[in-house]
Structure formats: structure tokens, C-alpha cells
């Protein structure tokens, strides 16, 4: 804990470190995708940081923040074995944008980057083996994207055709729908609204339905419309 990781990074890269934060003691730095590999290599190589212990690479999907910000956060977690400190490095990439692979820096990034590709569809430039890892090759789409419906299955083999294999009554085929508290497809189309104001607010529908929304809708039309009664 001798070195303040973020300070060291800022000293080295200056403005290339776009943001830093230390929420609940987790040091985090955000860089641009173009600096991603360089900063990562520095983390590993620097004699004060020595982030030699690879922890994880993952991603987060924020479909709603586009186009102000790129859609995905890609997150790298590393740790130093000798110094016993950790850092979280983040970058933001657009859908379809490729990111430099970190496999040359930490070989452990191999599978986790494959998983990010599998789940989010973010490709890594220079990765030795960019295949799906958890899902099968025939799978279309990227399930951890918010707009992939959770229950959309893509069976590899046909199901048997017999009675009583579906959910039995009174459980309908859509059972589980309300528990799917946020219907992301609907939300991205702007139509997922909860009746309960409190729950609406918790789903990010700020004041959408409470009585305090006094937005006028529809406006009187000019009188000269033909055929008007």
C-alpha cells in the first residue's frame, strides 16, 4: 500500500487518464481505448506498481448512455503480488469497436477476453484465439447485452413434441415476466413503466408516473382542417 496507484498513473500519463475515482476504496482509472494496452503494459512493467497478478477482465453494457458516451465499459482488474495493491482500469468502447488485446501483457487475459467477446460481442485486436467460449458457435447475439432478451433460447436440437412439457397450468408460458423487473427491450423502446411510483423511480423512470408530471400532450389543431365537424 506504499504507492498511490492512481497518483502514479496520473504522473505517468497525465491527461490520458480521463477520470479517476476511489469509491469505497476501489481505485479506478478510466482511459481511452487507444491508451488501453499502453496503460496496461505500464501497470505491469512499472517498478513501483508491478501489477503482475492478473485478476479479471469484464465488461458492462450501458445502452442508454449512447450516444453521449460509448456503449460498453471494459474493465480490467489487476493486482500486485509483491505490493499487495489493486487497481481497476476502465475504458469505454463503442459497439463494434475493437480493443487491443492484453494477452501479451498477461496471458491470463486470454480466456476472460474470449468471454467478454462471447457475452458482449466486443472484439479484441490481436487476440490469438477469438472464439466463443461459454456458448456454442451457433449462438447468434450476445446474451449479456441489455437488449438480449433473457428468455430467448436458441436450441441446438429440436425439442420433443409431447404434451405436458411446457409449464403446466396455471403457470403460463410467460410466468416470470413480472419478476423480470426491468424489461430492457421495452425500456430501450421507452415503454417499460411501472405503475407503482416508488418502483418506477427505482427503475430509473424519474417521476414518470407520479402525479407531478404535468407535461401537456397533444395540441389544438387549426380550425381550417377540412371535414371537421
Amino acid at each position: 500500500m506504499s504507492v498511490a496507484v492512481l497518483a502514479r498513473l496520473q504522473a505517468e500519463f497525465g491527461a490520458k487518464i480521463l477520470e479517476t475515482s476511489s469509491f469505497r476504496g476501489d481505485d479506478e482509472a478510466i482511459v481511452a481505448p487507444s491508451d488501453w494496452a499502453a496503460v496496461a503494459a505500464f501497470l505491469r512493467a512499472d517498478s513501483e506498481l508491478v501489477m503482475d497478478h492478473f485478476i479479471d477482465i469484464t465488461a458492462i453494457d450501458y445502452p442508454e448512455r449512447t450516444p453521449q458516451l460509448p456503449r460498453f465499459d471494459v474493465v480490467l482488474l489487476v493486482r500486485s503480488m509483491s505490493k499487495n495493491h489493486r487497481v481497476r482500469l476502465k475504458t469505454r468502447v463503442q459497439d463494434g469497436e475493437e480493443l487491443d488485446t492484453l494477452v501479451p501483457v498477461w496471458r491470463g487475459a486470454n480466456w476472460t477476453e474470449r468471454e467478454v467477446f462471447d457475452m458482449f460481442g466486443i472484439r479484441f485486436r490481436g487476440h490469438p484465439d477469438m472464439r466463443r467460449i461459454l456458448l456454442y458457435e451457433e449462438f447468434v447475439g450476445y446474451p449479456l447485452r441489455k437488449d438480449y432478451p433473457i428468455d430467448k433460447t436458441q436450441p441446438l436440437i429440436e425439442y420433443r413434441k409431447e404434451d405436458n412439457l411446457e409449464k403446466l397450468p396455471p403457470f403460463g408460458p410467460t410466468e416470470g415476466q413480472p419478476w423480470n423487473r426491468i424489461d430492457w427491450q421495452a425500456r430501450l423502446e421507452g415503454r417499460d413503466m411501472q405503475v407503482s411510483p416508488a418502483i418506477a423511480v427505482q427503475q430509473g423512470q424519474k417521476h414518470a408516473l407520479s402525479e407531478s408530471s404535468a407535461r401537456a400532450e397533444g395540441k389544438p389543431l387549426p380550425d381550417e382542417i377540412p371535414g371537421k365537424n
Binding site: G172, V195, E211, S213, A216, G218, P226, G227, K228
Partner: protein
């Protein structure tokens, strides 16, 4: 515009506005029970107390518990003002989150819950109850009071639609003010004081005017509940969709509350729109959702041997096309509907004019009801204006159609909708036509006289536009799925045209809207965000 500061945020206001209203306009909610934007100010719940910071605040002497000394010590605190009554002033600094205010909010909330029964499991308000929300936001503690709460009346039937529970009531008097001020029917009042305070009916009266269901919606807690909605669904399961009421030509804005699991609409609620309905709706409008699920036509029907038999939709479609083909195209009369959206009517009218080459267009509409000055329009058809507009010319009545049929000028009829001013007896002459194809969502006189019935979706099952009596085009969105196989009327019309070998190509609703006359308002006014 002058501004004041609320929690360090600049809030513009119009002179004379209260703090709470100015904040509300900005989308900032100061906790309140008794204040309602559409009602007068009562300032009796004390939930909206805020601290108005001024140079010389009025300090009130209080006794404060000192934990160290284990005794009460004298102290002072600034006097708080109710935000619902305090007019905003230029440069005023207001805090609704200071310690003093927080304490006040917690205390008020605790007082309001002192005698509240343990009813959440059986209360329909649970999930949208202000007591619950404000408890979480402002009180956050368990009960300190150990004694038995005061008991009051429960489950009192106030009228055909509303039940009152005295124990849950927080005496905000919103309901009293609503009936007084908006409806002008002072049917409710309050009696007694303090613990025994309760809402009562005027002697000899019932809460039976045409806006009684609104009482449920103005009640911030579960004291007034609707008998119609009661015990049917839990609100946290329900999703809402913005829509427009189909009850009358006013076109009240509303929410459709439906359960996505069973695709069932459970209630309709008013949606704020200052230009149309402000915050209100009438009972008939709110209950009109029953029509979405009752007396629905979900199969095709074909008349055989004098009575209508259920068949598959595509069978009925083919039958309709075949029958219509036997009729000379120019002798087909097309009945538009004032109950259906502009898009439905437009596509049908387009079919008639362009493909049949007929101008025999008629309009079926309900005969009207008892309107009033508040919301209810005399015309109980939501889209008479829109249908006329979509037809692109004046429309004749169903009576004219009957005459045309009698004269032989019309041999085939395509009729949209179930609603018509005429009853079954009056429509009987229609059967003289060779073929009557009815596109209808519900049972009614029109489909009953038809040769072929094709089911169509009701308006919450599709997106569309209503044009109200004021000429405002108001779009509404699809809330629930139509029954399997059933499509909206304009899609069904397209299918019918296709079955007859006539092509009208619209792939989606936007195509239809674009094709509608440029001055047809729907296309130019897609629904504003809610």
C-alpha cells in the same frame, strides 16, 4: 422569470406560486399528502414543511433531550413553513432537506402512522401508497408506540364504486376538496377531531356522481379504494402504458395499467394533461376497460343457414373476399367507425376510394350521452373528428346506408366497429344486402347483422390516433397483445384487400401515418414523452 433557491437549486416561479407548485413544475417533489396540483390548498398534513432561510428566522423555544445529561435542556429551533402555502419569493432560500426539516418529516410521518392498521397485505394501495414511500424516505424506524392503536370504521361503502377505510385515512381532505371543487357535489365531509376524525357522507347521500372513482386516485393512501379494482391485482406487477380514453370525444389522457403476464388490463387511470383533462377522468371512462376483455369477438364468423358460426379467421377472411367478389365493386358501401382510430378509418376509406372506386362512405357512431361541463363530452365517440378527417370528405350516416341498401344502390357492405346508433331492429334491413362484412372487436348490433365477421383489436391492443372534439390529435400506444390471430382493423383491412386480390401496401403503422393526408395531425404529432 423570478427564481428562488430550493436546496441550492434555482427554481423559477410565476409570481404568486407556492413553493411546492414551483418545485413540482420542475419535477422536484416536496413530500406532501394533502396538496394536489388540481385542488385548493388545505395545508393540514404538515408533511411539506420546509425551512425558509431568512436573516432573522423565527425561533421557537423547545425542550431538547440531552443524552449526556440525561435530561431535557432548553433550546430553540427555527419555525418551519408549509411549502404548499408559502408563496415563493425572489431570492428566497428554501431547504427541504435540512436536519430540522428531516426531523419534522420523520415526526409527521410517525404521527400519521401512529394509528394506522397493519393492513398492507390486504390493502390495494400497497405499492403505490404514499405512506409506504414516505416511510422509507423520511422515517425509516420501527414503531415506538406500544399501545393499541385507535380503531375506526373499516370497509364503509361510500357508494357503488368506493369503499372507505377510516383507519387508513390520514385526513388530508383531498377527496372532500375534489368533490367540492371539481365535481361541485359536496357529498363528503369530515367529522370529529383528532383521533376520532373521519370522512363521512352527507346525510342521505351516496358517493354516486359521475366522477366518484377519481376519489380513489386523489386519495394518497389506501383509505378510499375502488370496488372495481379491489383485490384483483397488485400494483407492483402492473405495467402502465400511455393511452387515450375511448369513452367520449374529450379524449382524456390516461394510463392503461395491465399485467404483462396475462395481458389483462386491470384499470385505467387519468394522466395529467393540462390542455385536455388536467388530472381527472370520469367513471365511465375509467370503467371502459371492461370492454377490452368482455364480449370480445376473437374468431371469424360466417353466416350459414341464418346464423353466425365461428370459424378460423383466415377462413372467414377468404369467405369475405369471395362474397365481396360477387358484388360489383362500385356497389360496395363502406362504413367507417367513430370508435376506431384514424389509421383504421384511413386505410378502409383508402380501400373504398382507390380500389373499389366507390364513394359510398358512411360513419357509424354511438348516439351520444349526457355530457357535462367538467369533462364529459356530449358525443361519446372518441374519434368522430378523426374518422371524418381520415375519410377525406363528408360521411353519410348509417340511416343513409340503410336507405341505399333498400334502394339497391349498395349490395355489399364493409362495416367497421361494433358501435352504431341504431339497434338490431333498426339495422335489420341491412340483411338485404348480398354481403355484409363486419370488422369488429366486440359483440354488437353491427356484427350481428353481418354475413361475415372479422375480429379486430381494440384500441389498447394497437397504436393509433384519436382526434378529439377540440381537434387535437392524440396518439396512443399499444399496451397489451391482441388475442391470438387478431390484428388491428387497418391490418385486417389490408389482409382483406389482399384476399380480394387488391394490393394496398403498408408494412407498418408509420407507413400508414405517412400516407395520411399531410394535414392530418397524427403524423405531425407523435406522442410527446410522458
Amino acid at each position: 422569470m423570478p427564481t428562488f433557491k430550493l436546496n441550492d437549486k434555482e427554481i423559477p416561479f410565476e409570481p404568486g406560486e407556492t413553493i411546492i407548485r414551483a418545485a413540482w413544475k420542475q419535477g422536484i417533489e416536496i413530500p406532501h399528502y394533502c396538496w394536489h396540483p388540481g385542488l385548493s390548498v388545505a395545508a393540514n398534513c404538515r408533511m411539506c414543511l420546509v425551512e425558509v432561510k431568512s436573516q432573522r428566522p423565527m425561533m421557537l423555544p423547545i425542550l431538547k433531550w440531552d443524552a449526556e445529561k440525561q435530561d431535557y435542556v432548553e433550546d430553540t429551533k427555527p419555525k418551519l413553513a408549509p411549502a404548499c402555502q408559502q408563496a415563493a419569493a425572489e431570492g428566497m432560500e428554501v431547504s427541504s432537506t435540512s436536519d430540522q426539516v428531516k426531523q419534522a418529516q420523520a415526526s409527521v410521518q410517525e404521527f400519521l402512522l401512529l394509528n394506522h392498521p397493519v393492513d398492507c397485505p390486504i390493502c390495494d394501495q400497497a405499492g403505490e401508497c404514499k405512506l409506504q414511500d414516505y416511510w422509507l424516505d423520511h422515517q425509516k424506524t420501527l414503531k415506538r408506540k406500544q399501545t393499541e392503536p385507535v380503531h375506526k370504521v373499516k370497509g364503509v361503502r361510500f357508494g357503488p364504486t368506493i369503499v372507505y377505510d377510516g383507519e387508513r385515512c390520514v385526513m388530508c381532505t383531498r377527496c372532500i376538496r375534489f368533490n367540492d371543487e371539481i365535481v361541485g357535489d359536496p357529498v363528503l365531509d369530515m367529522r370529529e377531531r383528532g383521533n376520532t376524525n373521519e370522512i363521512v357522507l352527507s346525510p342521505g347521500r351516496q358517493l354516486d356522481h359521475k366522477y366518484s372513482l377519481m376519489n380513489e386516485h386523489v386519495c394518497p393512501v389506501g383509505a378510499l379504494t375502488s370496488r372495481d379494482f379491489r383485490f384483483k391485482a397488485r400494483v407492483w406487477f402492473l405495467k402502465a402504458q400511455t393511452s387515450v380514453c375511448s369513452g367520449c370525444a374529450t379524449g382524456c389522457n390516461m394510463f392503461v395499467d395491465y399485467d404483462p403476464r396475462d395481458q389483462h388490463v386491470y384499470r385505467l387511470r387519468p394522466r395529467d394533461n393540462e390542455a385536455v383533462n388536467k388530472h381527472w377522468m370520469c367513471d365511465d371512462g375509467m370503467l371502459s376497460y371492461h370492454r377490452y376483455h368482455q364480449e370480445r369477438i376473437v374468431t371469424g364468423r360466417v353466416r350459414t343457414n341464418g346464423h353466425l358460426a365461428d370459424v378460423k379467421i383466415d377462413v372467414a377472411m377468404r369467405e369475405a373476399a369471395a362474397l365481396l367478389a360477387t358484388v360489383e365493386k362500385s356497389k360496395i358501401g363502406v362504413v367507417l367507425s367513430a370508435q376506431h382510430s384514424s389509421e383504421d378509418n384511413f386505410v378502409l376509406a383508402k380501400l373504398a376510394r382507390e380500389k373499389f372506386g366507390t364513394d359510398k362512405l358512411y360513419l357509424a357512431a354511438l348516439p351520444g350521452w349526457d355530457g357535462d361541463k367538467i369533462l364529459r363530452h356530449n358525443d361519446n365517440n372518441p374519434n368522430r373528428a378523426g374518422a371524418t378527417l381520415a375519410a377525406g370528405g363528408p360521411l353519410r350516416t348509417v340511416k343513409d346506408l340503410l336507405a341505399d341498401v333498400a334502394s339497391g344502390a349498395v349490395e355489399g357492405v364493409i362495416a367497421l366497429g361494433w358501435a352504431s346508433a341504431e339497434d338490431a331492429v333498426a339495422l335489420a334491413p341491412l340483411s338485404r344486402a348480398k354481403v355484409v362484412v363486419s370488422l369488429s372487436s366486440n359483440e354488437g348490433a353491427l356484427p350481428n347483422t353481418a354475413t361475415v365477421v372479422l375480429p379486430v383489436a381494440v384500441h389498447v391492443e394497437m397504436s393509433g390516433t384519436f382526434v378529439n372534439a377540440k381537434g387535437m390529435a392524440q396518439p396512443f400506444k399499444k399496451a397489451i397483445q391482441a388475442p391470438p390471430g387478431v390484428k388491428s382493423a387497418w391490418e385486417t383491412t389490408l389482409d382483406l384487400a389482399r384476399a380480394m386480390g387488391l394490393g394496398i401496401d403498408f408494412a407498418k403503422l408509420d407507413d400508414v401515418r405517412r400516407a395520411m393526408p399531410a394535414n392530418t395531425p397524427a403524423a405531425s404529432n407523435p406522442g410527446a414523452p410522458v
